[in-house]
Structure formats: C-alpha cells, structure tokens
Symmetry: C2
Subunit: 659 residues, 2 copies
Amino acid sequence: MSHVLSDEAVANAMEEIKNNLSSRRPDDDNILPHIHKVSTPPKQSLFQDIKHNFNETFFSDDPFGKFKNQTGSRRFVLGLQTVFPIFEWGRYYNLKSFKGDLIAGLTIASLCIPQDIAYANLANLEPHYGLYTSFVAPLVYAFMGSSRDIAIGPVAVVSLLLGTLLTDEIPNFKSHEYLRLVFTATFFAGITQMALGLLRLGFLIDFLSHAAIVGFMGGAAITIALQQLKGLLGIKQFTKKTDIISVMRSVFSAAHHSWNWETIVIGVAFLAFLLATKYIAKKKKNLFWVAAISPMICVIVSTFCVYITRADKKGVAIVKHIRNGVNPSSVNEIYFSGKYLSAGIRIGVISGMVALTEAVAIGRTFAAMKDYSIDGNREMVALGTMNVIGSMTSCYVATGSFSRSAVNYMAGCKTAVSNIVMSIVLLLTLLVITPLFKYTPNAVLASIIITAVMSLIDIKAAILLWKVDKFDFLACMGAFFGVIFQSVEIGLLIAVAISFAKILLQVTRPRTAVLGKLPGTTVYRNILQYPKASQIPGMLIIRVDSAIYFSNSNYIKDRILKWLVDEEIQRTSSEFPSIQYLVVEMSPVTDIDTSGIHAFEDLLKSLEKRDIQLLLANPGPIVIEKLHASMLSGLIGEDKIFLTVGDAVATFGPKGADL
Amino acid sequence: MSHVLSDEAVANAMEEIKNNLSSRRPDDDNILPHIHKVSTPPKQSLFQDIKHNFNETFFSDDPFGKFKNQTGSRRFVLGLQTVFPIFEWGRYYNLKSFKGDLIAGLTIASLCIPQDIAYANLANLEPHYGLYTSFVAPLVYAFMGSSRDIAIGPVAVVSLLLGTLLTDEIPNFKSHEYLRLVFTATFFAGITQMALGLLRLGFLIDFLSHAAIVGFMGGAAITIALQQLKGLLGIKQFTKKTDIISVMRSVFSAAHHSWNWETIVIGVAFLAFLLATKYIAKKKKNLFWVAAISPMICVIVSTFCVYITRADKKGVAIVKHIRNGVNPSSVNEIYFSGKYLSAGIRIGVISGMVALTEAVAIGRTFAAMKDYSIDGNREMVALGTMNVIGSMTSCYVATGSFSRSAVNYMAGCKTAVSNIVMSIVLLLTLLVITPLFKYTPNAVLASIIITAVMSLIDIKAAILLWKVDKFDFLACMGAFFGVIFQSVEIGLLIAVAISFAKILLQVTRPRTAVLGKLPGTTVYRNILQYPKASQIPGMLIIRVDSAIYFSNSNYIKDRILKWLVDEEIQRTSSEFPSIQYLVVEMSPVTDIDTSGIHAFEDLLKSLEKRDIQLLLANPGPIVIEKLHASMLSGLIGEDKIFLTVGDAVATFGPKGADL
C-alpha cells in the first residue's frame, strides 16, 4: 500500500480492517484462504535447466541471437560482420565521420610517435619497435574491434611490466635472445587474450577489482616516473630494480659524479613546458590539442637544438640509432620450444591479462559515455588476434592507451578509422623521417613519459574509494605500495590477492538483520536502519541477505541462533513475552544448496529443543523448488511458508500485530 | 497488509483508497509526505565500522563476551575453562554420566583396536603406531575438546592420504626416514590446525563443500576397499598405485600364481560375518553393539585359529611383529631442517586440513542432534594440540572417526570421558596383550577395513544432491571419480576446484528477476514464479539478487539493460506503452562497492540517452550510506529513492496502478 495517503478514508479503512482482524485467529475454522500462496515455478527439465545456467554464465549477451531464422548467405554476412565489425559500421560511414576521424587520427599520431619511442625504452627495446607496434596493431584492431574511441598501441604500464619480467629471465637485454623472448611473450599474450574471448571466459578479468587497478596504476605510474630520473638527470649507472628505495639510492649516489647539467636543463625545461600545456588543456577543455601536440613539438625543438649545438658531445644522451623502414617479419623469432618457452608463456599470460584489463576498462568507459555496447568477449578476440599478428611482425604487446584514447575522444573521433589514420602516419614516419630522431635527447623522452604517466595517478578515485568502501581503499593502497616498494609483479599479486579476499569474505560472512514493522504499514525493515520499526511480541524476524551455500551455511545457522539468544536475553529483561516463532525472511536468498538444506535441518532441530517454531517468508523460485526436492518443506510444514512476513505475522502473531 | 482477509469491509476500504488515489498525482501540490522515507542508519565512526566488520568476520561467536565485567581471578578460571572445557563440565559430572561413558568407552575401545592395527597398515606403518595414536590423542582431546560424542583416533581416509603422499616422497616405507617424515607431517598437521584455530580462520574449512566431501569420502572408501584385496586374496606383489585400473590389473595378473586359498577362506568368511552383524545393527538400532564388538571377535577367533592350525606356514600372511609397551618419545625424530622439512610441511598441511574437515563435520552433526554448540575455532586448537603432542609421542595424525563416533553416540556416551576410558583400555592393551596379536591374519584386518569404510559411501546423500542441486552433484562425482581413477590428491584437488568454481559463479553471475504486482495486493514478486503477477504499464521493475561488487557489477548493468531491451521489444508488439521508468528493487542488495557505484553511473547515462528514469526501491543501510558518500543518490535524485516498490509505483506509475 502506498504511504502517500493519510486522509480520513484511509484511517477509517484501517480501523475496519483492524476490527475485522482481531475477530479471527489462525485456528478459526471460518478463516478464508490466503489470496496468494508461495508458488513453485513451472518445472523445467534437467536439460533446460543446465542449458539456461550455461547460457547465463557464458552467453549472457546472447551472441548467437541474431543468427536465428536467417538464410545461409545472410548468416555468412552476419558471421563476417561479427568477426570484422568494420563491415557493419563501414556501410554507414560517411565524409562527416571521416573528417572527425582524420583530425583525431592525426592528433593521436603526433602524440604516439614520441610516446612509442619512449615506451620501447621502458621495455628495454630499441625505439623503432615501439613505432612498429603502433603501425600494425591499430590496423588489425580497426577491422576487428568494437570500440569506437580506443587508441591502440604500446602503453607505459605493460611496457614496464614486460621489461621487468623479461630482464628477470634474460638480464642482458641487448642480446638477440631477449628480443626473441619479447616476440614469444607477445605471441602468448595474444593467444591468452584470444582464448579468454573464444572460451567466453572474459568475466575472469572482472576479478581484478576497480580499486586494485587504481592502486596498481598509480604505483606503476610513480615507478615509471622514478625510472625516468635516469634520463632526466643523465645518470649512466642506474639500478635494475624498480622499487623506490633502490631507485632513490641510485639517484643520490650518482649525484656528485654523474649528473649532467646540460641534460638536466633540457629535461627540466621541456618537462615544465609539457606540464604547463597539460595544465592548460585541463583548465580549458577545447585546448586539449595543445597538450596533445606538445610532445611532438618538444621532440622537434629539442632534436633541432641538440643537432645545432652538438650537445651530445657534452654528455647529453641521445637516441642515436633508429632503424628506417617497415616492420620485418618475426615469425621465425618466436620460441615454440626450448628453455625460454615456459618463461615466454608465463610472461605472455601475465602481460596479456594486464593489457586486457586496461583495454576493456577503456572500452567500457567510452562506450558508456556514448551509449553503445562493447562485447567483451569479441573485444578480447580482436585484441588477441592483433597481438598474435603483432608478434609475427616485430611488434610487442599493444593495448588501449588511457591518455591517447582520451585525446582521440576529445579530438572528435567517430569510429576506429582514426586508428587507421594513425597507422598510416606511422607508416610514413617509418619510411621517411625516422633518421631525423637520431639526435632526440633521452631527457626529452623522459619528460614525455613523466607527463604521460601522471594521468594514471587518480587521486580523486582514491578519495572516493576511501569515502565509499574502506576495504576497497585498503586494496588500492596494498597494490600501490606493493608496486612502489617492491615491484610491479608483487603489486599485481597483492591486488589480485586482496580482490579475492574480498570475494571470500563476501561468500563466507553474509549479513543478517533483525526486522521490525514500520508503524502503520505491513512493511518490515531492518531495525538498525529504521529505529521506528518495532518488533512483534513473541516473534523474532530475521532476514538472511545472501544465497545460502556451503561456504556460509554454518555461519548463517550460528548467526540466527545467536540473534535468538541475544534477543531472548534482552526480552527477558524488558518483560516482553518469550519468543515462540522465528520468522526467516528469505527474499534475498536466491539459492540454497545441500549444505544450506542441512543447516536448516540443524536449525530446525535446535529450535525444536527450545519450543520455537520456524516460519519462512517469501522463498524464491529456486529455493522453494529445492525445499520441496529435499523434503525440507514437509519438515517445516507447508502451512509455515508464507508469501510475506506480514502474512506470517497475521497468521501466527499476536492479535492485530499485522496492522 | 495481510491477505487472509477478503470480506466486504476490506473491499470497501480498498475502493475508498482507490478513489482517493486516482484523484491525485505526484505533481499535485496537496500531496502528503510519505509516512516513511528510506533512512540512513546512525553514522558510525570509521573505527567502530572496522571493529564491527572485524568482529563479525573473526569473532562472530563472541568468544570474549563472557570475560566482560569479571574479576581477575574469575577471569583466570574462565580462561582455564575456555582452554580446558573439562574443568567446566567436569564440575557437574556424576555417576550416571560415568556409567554411560564407561560402556561407550569400552565399546569403542573394542572397535578401535583392530581398526588401529589395520589403519596403521594403510599409512604404511607398523601396527603399534595405530595403537599409540589411539592412546595419547583421545586423552589430550578429552581435556581440550568441546564435542561430547566424537571418538578420536586414526581414521581410514587420513591414513590412506598420509600413506600415499609420504610414499611419493620416500618410496621405501621400511626406512627410518619414512617414520621420521610421518612424525614431521603429524607435527605440522597439528600446527596447521592450531594456527587456523588461533587465527580464527576456522571458516576456511567451510570452503570444502559438503558435496565435494561426500564424493571424496565415497571415492576414498572404494579406493581403500580395493587396496584390501591384497590382504583378502593373499597377493604378495601388489601395485603401489591407488587408482582402480592399476589395482584391478594387479589383482587379475596375480590370479593364477599368487592368490592363496587359505587366506581367501579366512578373509571371505570373516567379511561375511562382519557384514552380517553390520546388517543386523542397521535393522535393529538397539543391537548396534553386535556390529561394534564383532571386529574384536573376528580378531580373537581368527588369531586363535591361525595359531592352532599354524596356517601362517601355508602362506597366510599374519601381523608377525607388534611391539609391546607404551609410546616412546619421538621429539628428536621430527625434521626441523633438511631436505624433508618442506615435504613434511606440505603433507602436514594437507592431511591436517582433511582431518579437520572430518572432525568438524562429526562434531557439528552430533552437536546439532543433542543441541549443544561447538566452538569451531576452539575445537581446532584442541585437535591441533592433540596432534602436536601426538607427533612427539610416536603417534600419527588422529582425528574424529565417523564410524566410532556413531557407535560412541549409540552406546550412550555423555561426555569426552568415554575417550578417556578408551585411552585407558588402549594403555592396558599396549602394556599387556599386544604380543597376542602376532598371529592375527592380515586377511581379517582387510575385512575389518572393508566393513568400516563401507559406511563412508553415502548413496542417499548423493541422491539428495542430484535432486536438490545438479552442480553439487557434479562436484560430488568429480571428486569421486578423481579419487578412484586417479589418486586421493587429485580427487581432493578436484573437490576444492569445483567448490571454488561454484563460489566464483555465485559472485560473477548473480540472478536478476522482473517483478510484477500480485493482483489485489501491493506485493511485487518474480513474474516467472508467480504467473499471476502483472507488470505495470510504462514501468519495468527489476530485482537484483546479490550485493553489487567488482566481480559482478558489469554483468548486472548489462543484464538490466538486456532486460530493458527485451521488454521493450515485447511491449512494442503488445501495444503496451513504452517504458518510462526503470525501478530497481534493491532489497537483496546488501552492499555495493565503488565498481558497483560506477556501474550505476554508467547505467544512469545509458538510461538518460533512452529517456528512461531510474527509481530505486528499498536500498539497505550500507547501500544508502554509500550512495550518499559517492553522491550517486544526488545524481539519481533523492525523490527517486523509495521505501518499497509499491511507493515508487504509487508516485510515478499510472493512475491507480498501486492498488
């Protein structure tokens, strides 16, 4: 009943109902049957049941729905469009969209060239491998991906992760084995991503919680920024470790002999310039392009300065060598056997998962902003194929980049064509202008990286975590400190471990609440949330807030008995009548398994010894079916299972208690 | 409102309310305020909040409650009683209880002596180690344990598990290293159990689901029975493997040269006798003692027969050597360093966990039957201490035995004193009569084991699993076939893996339901369960049946949008008005984390694009607090959060829809 009414008519009606009610009791012979009983849903066959559950788990998005009732040739076209969405949206592509995509593509290309050169360095690779990756990967993605806003290429965190994991295996990163292991890891990263998508296991990446990602990304950003002190200060001897203590020690021990003032001047000047443009772009949204093209300007200006002044002779480190021409084939470089195979698989799986997490997060964010949908599993297949092809064409692991995707979006991209534009610009760069980067100072690359990774530190998100959920905040901080004080792997491990701990807590310690009646209604609510709600004399009403499974059935049983004991003590002192009925509100109990059934049997036995009757309110479809299958409903008594708590109180409660 | 009423008064009242309702709309200025709004619970400080969650997770049974408001000396006594419950119940102990315990103790002693000798063989140990274990362990448990019915000692499954795991490490089980590793594993099994109890992590054993245990136990029972074919048929060369295929091949390849007919006669005859007494005991509950003492009778009769006929000269294998005297110390035998330490820890942790699972299951079963409570964590400390002391006194891993505990219960035990009686009988046995077991034929021990493990095969439970929960049945069968076709470890691994898979499914794929109004009420229920429930024109009401966490937030968002699309298609064809309001019934949503908040933000954006408004019904205390903390409630609009679905329909639904 609505609570908006309180005029005379309602008051009179209430009075009548109340009078009527007090004149009858459950043992009354004249009692009329309940209008509604708890019903059991239409019985499904075992096959239907399993099919339904299987579909809901793996095919909840109904990917084959559109293939139904179609002719063979139509199915082929639909299948082609499913694998290559470009054939779907390509048909509606027009000049106006192309204008948006062209501008966006040129903007992200100018941003990605300096970033690529710098990120390749994080993975201990020569700069042209970054450019190779930004040429092939976006092209493949444009044909197969379903996000319209993502910008594909190498990213900082994955580059650092790859670099760290790979140097643990092969410390000499100048060796040919190192390069081969990079391609091997990239290949298996792609295979992992494809497999997750094809096996419809995309939901596994949801196990890395948002909170853990915020912490991990923030930690990784700081770690990457600290690594750049090498380039920024011109230090020659630098630690291989990534934790903050080793890095700071390395920085200060080099202070009095190896800092190079020319390098510092270049580095700090351009860093200041980049941060200033970033600040401008943040303040005025329509000036976003200033921040987007400033890295390119830095590279051009600094390269020119160094070339003119020959500052490289004075100790300013420069890129030196950067190969001309397009990607050579690397099919024969991948290890399919030998001692590095297992390392390649392991590193591939880890970096593939991290890359996937980043890409899917970006895809979802922009899809929600423009209200289109992303098929997570199909997206994984696209990203996986892209990396497999990449591993055969001298690329390393590519994924969606946070910073470039945001620029892409703001520059007005309409479709994945902006990635194709970027790819073509990269092709021209590789063919024509790479030799010009020879004199680019490393210090500028370092300042570009520092500026780029700053946006990965999301302090606002951390504050929100603190406000909303302390446990999430703990997960965030755990991952953050794990990364900066230990290493990226440890941080990742902590992030996953805390995420899992939270899930385990959720399934072992569900909440229960004592309900009371809101005065003047038949609504029963948690008495802690609604202090006005009053308990029914002789009855204790408890709501169980979770499916009852083996992992929590014993806890739930014990907790209910504990509520009972606590209430009995409290009621004895307040001269309330002792408890005769325990009502369990089952609305939130969506499922129960055999352990849960056994726990209820035990509860029933304990209650019998105390002369308390068990009443159930509103068991759901699955629960009522299982209560019947296990004969537990017979033990409890069919007449003790009610549609609502109100019904149970009306039937067994004291006179007039239900009104 | 109760649905038991349907006479004229109610009908009139309804009519009046309806008339009254149709005359006003939400934009009506004269509208009266809701009687009840969704309230936010009293704000708790961060410390209180953390304390509450911590207590609920680790101290949900409030173990320190009784220490409050007590004097120092009283606290000491209470503390002593907590660690040694015998000082608590011992004060009320009387002769009547002792009579029950004496009879029960003598009965289980007669059952346990032959079982101990047999089980020691399963662990590849000499027979007296089984007797040692049944002397020390029950004594320690009697002082520290809180179960009144459990019978402590070596058990079949743990013995087999230990034997298998240990021979994987040290194949030569006659060596002294093997024995030392047994004590090491026992020591760490005890430490594991103690640690779980002291760290209040007892809930971890709940992760092994009931279904998995049923399958694992059944498989282990068959494996153990098959192993006994060696003793029963007198085979000399027998496989070391435990899977059914290896064992059967071993049995049949030995058929034409190594089966010993005298052994077979003894074995089969006594097996028939044991099964017959077991059958009698099952049919007539008061003859349970027949089955309880029959193993002892078998041992005495068969030993006498072999001694008289000197059948051991004709190839009947006998126990041969059994050491006299009480347990020697084994403190110096435990490996605290060296190459076997890690194996000892690993095997100890596994066997300790399995032993714990069995003991806790038994403890809980009998506690529920007699309605007393078992403190799981304290119980683990007791069992752990018992095994640690055991490992120093030449015992191996002991735990509660299913079969002997049942006999103990039926023989009328009152307290753990029955374990003390059993222990004293074992002491006398060790001191006086062990040499008499020299001529006991192995075939009789094999038939005792076969009879004992039969009760671990619980076909009824498996049938119930099939009926109630198909996924549970799958877990059960997975563990069962894993054990019999592979090995105990593989079976255990499958059991744990399937249990975890179920938890993961639970947290990633929660259920959602479309609700409709039951005619003549304001109750909204799942339209699939209640086909009579009707949907409200222009509104879609969806209930989310789970806390919204990172692991399921994206799925829930996508699922809600999918419901919306499906319903829109259906409604278009049936000429229903299009959907303007989406009501999310939040009653079962007990918690929400930041990922959940983000999912709702995304949902809100998607709904805005479709011109659909989001209404929330009955968010719980934690959810409403987080909605406020994250400002999401402001985005949704405070006026769009309702106490019940009925209120939301009354406010925004079509005229009169709420009645």
